[in-house]
């Protein structure tokens, strides 16, 4: 499907380009668009100006360019280049560069003599929003900055935190039409060069016409793109990215995307909120464990309900039996249908809530949560026990700090429910085994996704399920295979003994 699209676009793309041989051809091509402006300037009207009105900041130009050029007598572009107070000017005759620059907010200056040389002046019209608070990875404690859609601002946010000349940024352009700028960021000397090379290679090999967001790249370069699990971490927090860079990971910043990708990553990292590092380690560890339990609960509770109520009435304790039987007394559906109806209702609510504007979204939440829930129970369509379980499961699935894995978890439930309907608890075990195997087979940049659980690596376990204090995490995680393994000298952080108290 994708392949078909690419070839289709390629044909379209090639067609207008083939007869551009000189600047005049390019001019004619662009002139078709109404926002392309062209006029002459200067005393002798020998300076020609070309630009896209929608891409250029005219205020800036009027002050500095038009004023100077009005009375100037220029017959050489070099003189003009030195005269103008712009930094990134470029003198070239290469048509591809000219085309590209014109389309990214440059202005082209040309003398009316027959020279093919063209001076390009930056006059970008910036429309990006300001740096603001993180929306989906908000933390109560700690910095409240999030990436925005502009690549330079994003790299600026990273550089502010990692003040190192060794922080390298490699630019790659992807997307046949969109020509999106992608910056691969890493710290030279810490990050493993193999990882960097793999990422650069995979990104430059991307064959697709449009790259609108980092998630496009994340899907295209992950090891197994059929998997529901994200194999590259995406985050909107600059502190998280900087911290990953220092650990020896590689960050991929994509122009136009407020989410930065981090690779390689592991499953447990998706359950680690960056806020964990702002809290003392016992508290942070407790929260992590709660989060992991919540996820397990969220995936398993409705399949368990189906399994127990459909096949294993034996394991219901006597005290609970009455409650369960009474709550299901008048319900006409078997447990599986009951569960599917409610699960789908919750998914509907979530989907509707996400699409609607915030204020209406809240109303929908209340209407859905309270009215539909109560009405469904009163109408005898679902049991109130199940309503509680489903609501809890939905709540638990939102505890994941990374939004993307939350989606996965909500989806995972359905195969489990089907297996539970087929063979009860045995079915759930089989589904769990398929899941474990799938996770075992996943890799992130060729590194095992389940690390440090499997293969067991004690050093990395220090920051997995339990976050141990900073002073005993003396080395960088094995998963990144960092060139410089040592984070700190643990001998110096050890508490001094024998001090008088």
């Amino acid at each position: 499907m994708i392949r078909k699209k690419i070839s289709h676009k390629r044909n379209q793309h090639k067609h207008p380009k083939k007869d551009v041989n000189n600047f005049d051809d390019l001019f004619h091509l662009m002139k078709a668009s109404d926002d392309f402006k062209h006029f002459t300037l200067g005393n002798v009207n020998n300076i020609e100006l070309f630009y896209f009105q929608s891409l250029v900041n005219l205020d800036k130009l009027e002050v500095s360019l038009f004023g100077k050029l009005k009375d100037a007598k220029i017959d050489n572009l070099d003189v003009l280049e030195n005269m103008l107070p712009f930094s990134e000017t470029e003198l070239t005759s290469d048509l591809t560069i000219i085309e590209e620059k014109l389309l990214t907010g440059y202005m082209a200056l040309k003398l009316t003599n027959n020279s093919q040389n063209i001076l390009l002046i930056p006059a970008k019209f910036e429309v990006d929003r300001d740096v603001s608070q993180p929306e989906i990875e908000f933390s109560v404690i700690g910095p409240k900055l999030a990436f925005i859609e502009d690549i330079n601002t994003n790299i600026n946010l990273i550089r502010k935190r990692v003040k190192l000349p060794q922080l390298h940024v490699k630019n790659v352009e992807v997307g046949k039409i969109t020509k999106t700028n992608v910056a691969i960021t890493y710290i030279d000397g810490i990050a493993n060069q193999d990882n960097v090379d793999t990422i650069i290679q995979r990104i430059s090999e991307i064959e697709y016409d449009q790259i609108m967001d980092s998630s496009f790249i994340s899907q295209m370069i992950s090891d197994n793109s059929q998997s529901p699990f994200p194999q590259l971490m995406d985050t909107e927090r600059p502190d998280r990215v900087s911290s990953a860079l220092v650990e020896g990971k590689v960050a991929i910043v994509v122009d136009g995307s407020p989410h930065v990708l981090i690779a390689p990553t592991t499953l447990v990292e998706f359950f680690a909120s960056y806020e964990d590092y702002f809290l003392t380690w016992p508290i942070a560890s407790a929260f992590r464990i709660i989060r992991i339990c919540a996820v397990i609960f969220s995936v398993l509770i409705t399949p368990m309900y189906v399994a127990v109520l459909t096949y294993h009435y034996h394991i219901v304790p006597g005290d609970l039996l009455g409650t369960l039987v009474s709550s299901r007394k008048d319900i006409p559906f078997p447990p599986i249908l009951e569960v599917l109806i409610l699960e789908l209702t919750i998914e509907l609510l979530r989907e509707a809530g996400a699409r609607l504007p915030t204020k209406i979204g809240q109303t929908i939440g209340i209407v859905g949560g309270i009215v539909i829930g109560t009405a469904a129970v009163e109408a005898g369509l679902t049991s109130n026990v199940l309503l509680i379980l489903i609501a809890l499961a939905a709540l638990a699935s939102f505890t994941t700090p990374i939004y993307r894995i939350g989606n996965t978890i909500r989806l995972l439930r359905f195969p489990f429910i089907i297996f539970a309907q087929m063979w009860g608890l045995i079915g759930i075990t089989i589904a769990a085994m398929f899941l474990i195997t799938h996770l075992l087979r996943l890799t992130s940049l060729g590194r095992p996704f389940l690390e440090p659980l499997y293969p067991p690596r004690w050093r990395d376990l220090k920051d997995a399920v339990i976050r141990f204090p900073f002073n005993i995490q003396g080395s960088r995680p094995i998963i990144t295979t960092a060139t410089d393994k040592h984070r700190l000298n643990t001998n110096r952080t050890r508490l001094k003994r024998g001090k008088r108290k």
Partner: protein, 367 residues
């Protein structure tokens, strides 16, 4: 000797031997071995458990000696000693045995599921799903198989905790007086016991897949001892919980023990227990299946994927013939005999042959 070098991404650290060997050894046997050994040696049969453990540890050491520094595997050794044709034939027979074990482990557990859960379950379809799972694991390569085994050990470890009930409700008197059974019976009880400890013969297949194989000996021995301990612990628990006459009436004493355990949300633990134990069964079956496919693959030069799918299909159709309790019992018994001979007779013999062959060839080389 032609060396087989697996892909580096499929190789695992020797530490994981601790889990792999344990996972191979713990299968359906842990649920029923107490009855089998106590029917021969009474309640002194826990001594047989320990003796078997010691004996298998010896075999582990011998296997390490056979594999040696070059990290050869069964096939290479067979060809080295017996020549290409005979060597291949022996490897073929061996892999048939491995395949049979991997299937019978599944089939005999399906029997439990049928009794406890769904008497009307379609075995074919269930077997089909299980083999899909086995294939999914095995086609991932040895690293995945080992990973699955790794996780299964935690499940069996978790389940072993629930024998606590036997220590709170049991009668220690049952075990006394010690050494009241003739030594001959204790030795005889080692036979059913050794079927439970089978699984170390697989080391000969996956030896090349382990980094620094020689340093893995300590892990292999610890694993074998750990398994022995688990069996010992289990035997003591069950012997305390049932008296000698009672246990002979019970097919799966552990499952009956779980019947008594209840929690505020789970009234009957056995249903959870049987479901979770399936993980251990799949791990065992996968290790055997993978080993057997590895042999077939290297014997025939078919792709690993093709031969695995083909064998899985044979596995599904085999359920057609093995459905009766008695047949399963008989096949299990035969396989355990073969396994025992393989472990305690063939492998030491192979070691001796290997030594002799190495000596002869060295002499030739010197001349």
């Amino acid at each position: 000797m032609n060396h087989f070098k697996p892909d580096i991404t499929q190789m695992i650290s020797p530490f994981l031997l601790l889990f792999i060997i344990h996972a191979t050894q713990i299968g359906e046997g842990i649920l029923s071995f107490e009855r089998q050994i106590s029917s021969i040696a009474g309640y002194d049969s826990w001594i047989s458990v320990i003796l078997t453990g010691v004996l298998t540890t010896l075999i582990v050491v011998i296997i390490w000696k056979i594999v040696g520094e070059e990290q050869t595997d069964f096939m290479a050794i067979h060809q080295y000693i017996f020549g290409i044709i005979l060597g291949r034939l022996l490897t073929f027979l061996f892999s048939l045995y491995l395949f049979a074990v991997s299937m019978i482990v599944l089939v005999s557990y399906i029997e439990i599921i049928q009794i406890w859960f769904f008497p009307d379950m379609s075995i074919h379809f269930f077997m089909f799903i299980l083999l899909m799972l086995v294939l999914y694991i095995c086609l991932g390569g040895f690293r995945i198989v080992a990973g699955f085994a790794f996780f299964s050990v935690f499940v069996t470890g978790f389940l072993a905790i629930f024998k606590y009930k036997a220590f709170t409700d049991g009668h220690f008197n049952n075990l006394l007086p010690v050494f009241n059974t003739p030594a001959k019976d204790i030795i005889l009880a080692m036979e059913p016991m050794s079927f439970s400890l089978l699984g170390i013969e697989l080391i000969l297949i996956y030896a090349p897949f382990i980094h620094r194989f020689q340093s893995g000996l300590k892990w292999a021995i610890s694993s074998n001892m750990f398994t022995t301990f688990v069996y010992f612990f289990s035997a003591i628990a069950i012997f305390m919980y049932y008296n000698e006459q009672h246990i002979q009436f019970i097919s799966w004493p552990t499952l009956q023990l779980w019947k008594v355990i209840n929690f505020p949300i789970i009234e009957r633990f056995e249903y959870v227990g049987i479901s979770l134990h399936l993980i251990a069964i799949i791990a065992t079956s996968c290790l055997y299946f993978w080993a057997s496919m590895q042999c077939f693959h290297r014997l025939t030069r078919f792709s690993f994927r093709k031969i695995s799918i083909f064998c899985a299909l044979i596995g599904i159709s085999s359920v057609h013939f093995i459905h009766n309790f008695l047949i399963i019992e008989k096949i299990t018994l035969t396989l355990s005999r073969i396994g025992m001979i393989l472990l305690f007779v063939y492998i030491p013999l192979l070691y001796v042959c290997h030594k002799i062959a190495a000596g002869v060839k060295k002499k030739h080389a010197n001349k």
